[in-house]
């Protein structure tokens, strides 16, 4: 507890993230009303007039939509970041292990992939296979590959310079074994920090894709699409635009703060610079 009190960012970020995860999981078993239930009599009702946070243009309960949206947003973000992490860490650590042309190829590919933000890839994929969760996961996941490849490579290169790796090499261990036994365990902390920050970016990206209509398909609730739908009723029912945006911002803030806090704990030298 004392350690947590020394890192208020970690504590606050952790709490927000925990609250978000709890909300997402709770939405699987309970929401104040069924999120997709249409009740036209409650149409555009402001907060407290119909449920805690009001109702949308179909009279659906906004609190329930936000809760269910948390699950959709987080699950897409988690899967996409995990995929990006798996691909990126594999490429980055192998580039550091093999160096030479393998490293050059991986870094060039990273440069190329980095030129395709998730929205750009999602539009290409959506034109082919249509919008949907798969499109969002592939687009966000692909953009995460070069991010993890770069981080993993530069961290792994530092580990390769250490004495214990030299000892392992002298003992005849191959590049792959050293990567799995020595490099990966030593860069795991850094990768977890990066993953937390990437989760924040992935939540933002998912919201953007759903806003454009290439993410979670209707009638499944999604924060981004709630924002997109709110545009028509902006002056009539501003809460439709304000609440989902707040949910996205809070979720991103939580993961970012958690990532920053974890980084402070793992590498206190960075604290002053950040």
């Amino acid at each position: 507890m004392k350690a947590l009190a020394r890192h208020p960012t970690l504590l606050l970020g952790g709490l927000v993230t925990l609250l978000l995860l709890a909300t997402a999981f709770l939405s699987r078993v309970w929401t104040p009303a069924p999120p997709t239930q249409i009740q036209i009599t409650r149409r555009l009702a402001p907060p407290l007039e119909a449920g805690l946070l009001g109702a949308d243009h179909f009279g659906r309960d906004i609190a329930s939509l936000l809760m269910a949206g948390a699950w959709n947003s987080l699950s897409i973000a988690f899967v996409a970041v995990l995929l990006g992490m798996a691909g990126g860490v594999l490429l980055g650590t192998l580039a550091a292990a093999w160096r030479g042309w393998a490293e050059e190829i991986v870094m060039r590919l990273a440069d190329v992939t980095f030129a395709f933000p998730a929205v750009l890839s999602a539009i290409m994929i959506a034109a082919l296979i249509g919008p949907g969760v798969t499109t969002a996961v592939i687009a966000i996941g692909v953009f995460n590959v070069p991010v993890f490849a770069r981080v993993a490579r530069s961290a792994a290169l530092q580990i390769w310079e250490r004495d214990f790796v030299l000892a392992a090499r002298s003992a005849g261990k191959g590049a792959l074994l050293i990567t799995f036994h020595h490099v990966l365990p030593n860069i795991a902390g850094l990768l977890i920090v990066q993953a937390t920050i990437q989760l924040a970016m992935a939540i933002l990206a998912e919201a953007g894709l759903s806003f454009l209509g290439v993410g979670v398909p209707p009638p499944h609730p999604s924060w981004g699409r709630m924002l997109s739908d709110s545009q028509t009723y902006l002056s009539q029912a501003p809460h439709l635009a304000i609440l989902p945006g707040l949910a996205i911002a809070l979720a991103v803030l939580g993961f970012n703060m958690l990532g920053d806090g974890l980084r402070d704990v793992i590498d206190p030298k960075l604290r002053r610079k950040r």
Partner: protein
């Protein structure tokens, strides 16, 4: 420097070629029959055959790829299936909105971020510093398309100072056109400003700890003069690098923000092309966006090498 320039240029060409190849493979090779994708499953066979011929799908893929690249270099981007006009014409019109929007966003974010970062570093761990860091944390977390909606809500719906969207065109009234781009540019600039303020702060803090800064102060220079003459100049190098890296997010942001403000820019064109499954437009515009990101990163890389003599000597 010349050797470095040549190496970076070669790397630029390879990256551009790989990006174009990736787009071509995804949009023209992987789908099998792009004509069927564009016209849908219920299209008649003769219509499909006509489109296949128009798109040259009867020729080998490598030939089409080379033709496409050649067309890109000569400015012949093909014909849009939806708009029935040349893509070059469409793109030129839309660039007249997207480029000024991006430039305005970069200017606003820099004008906001550099002074904020400087103030935060000069008042390290004081109230001003904490305030800037809080702004940075929140600014990064706010989606630009949501911020755009909030700006419309406040400045258009509530105050009535701006229109809620649309673009009057440069020819009709340049001042009005500029005004129409202001809110979208602010929406795009906020997250960029938050990131840049953070980078400026950490970069200035790092330079403040350097020996030459202590020497400048020991020689009797005031804090303000030291900050402006010695610290800021050096501290801006990483800021420029991060600006280049952020360009990719600016491009993604432009696609979203243009849709919020219904601006007829390149991002909206791409979105409309996706809805219409106009693969010709998508292919060209995605490559343009990707090339823009790669080119900006290349220029930043060069600027970095030019600004930092150590890097030039190493290469």
């Amino acid at each position: 420097m010349i050797l470095l320039l040549l190496r970076r240029f070669a790397s630029l060409i390879v990256t551009l070629l790989l990006a174009s190849l990736a787009i071509f493979v995804v949009l023209e090779v992987l789908p099998g029959d792009p004509a069927a994708i564009m016209l849908g499953t219920e299209a008649r066979e003769d219509t499909l055959a006509a489109l296949r011929q128009q798109m040259g799908l009867d020729r080998p893929a490598y030939e089409r790829y080379l033709d496409w690249l050649g067309g890109m270099l000569t400015g012949d981007l093909g014909l849009s299936m939806t708009y029935r006009v040349s893509v070059s014409e469409l793109v030129a019109d839309r660039l007249a909105v997207t480029i000024p929007l991006a430039v305005m966003a970069i200017l606003i974010s820099t004008a906001l971020a550099v002074p904020l970062g400087l103030i935060a570093a000069a008042n390290h761990e004081k109230v001003a510093d904490r305030g800037v860091m809080l702004f940075a944390q929140i600014g990064v977390a706010i989606p630009n398309f949501w911020f755009g909606l909030l700006l419309i809500l406040f400045f258009s719906s509530y105050l009535g100072w701006f229109s809620a969207g649309g673009f009057p065109g440069w020819a009709a009234n340049p001042a009005l056109a500029l005004k129409a781009l202001l809110l979208p540019a602010i929406a795009l600039a906020l997250p960029q400003a938050a990131i840049l303020a953070r980078v400026t702060r950490s970069s200035v803090l790092e330079i403040l700890g350097e020996d030459f800064v202590r020497t400048a102060r020991a020689k009797g220079l005031t804090r303000r003069v030291t900050l402006h003459r010695h610290v800021l100049r050096n501290a801006l190098i990483p800021v420029v690098t991060v600006m280049g890296m952020q360009f990719s997010f600016l491009v993604a942001g432009a696609i979203l923000v243009e849709n919020v403000f219904t601006l007829p820019g390149l991002g909206r064109l791409l979105f409309q092309a996706m809805s219409q499954r106009d693969l010709v437009v998508i292919k060209d515009v995605v490559l343009l966006f990707a090339a823009l990101v790669i080119l900006v990163n290349f220029l930043v890389d060069l600027a970095y090498a030019w600004l930092d003599p150590r890097l030039r000597q190493r290469t």
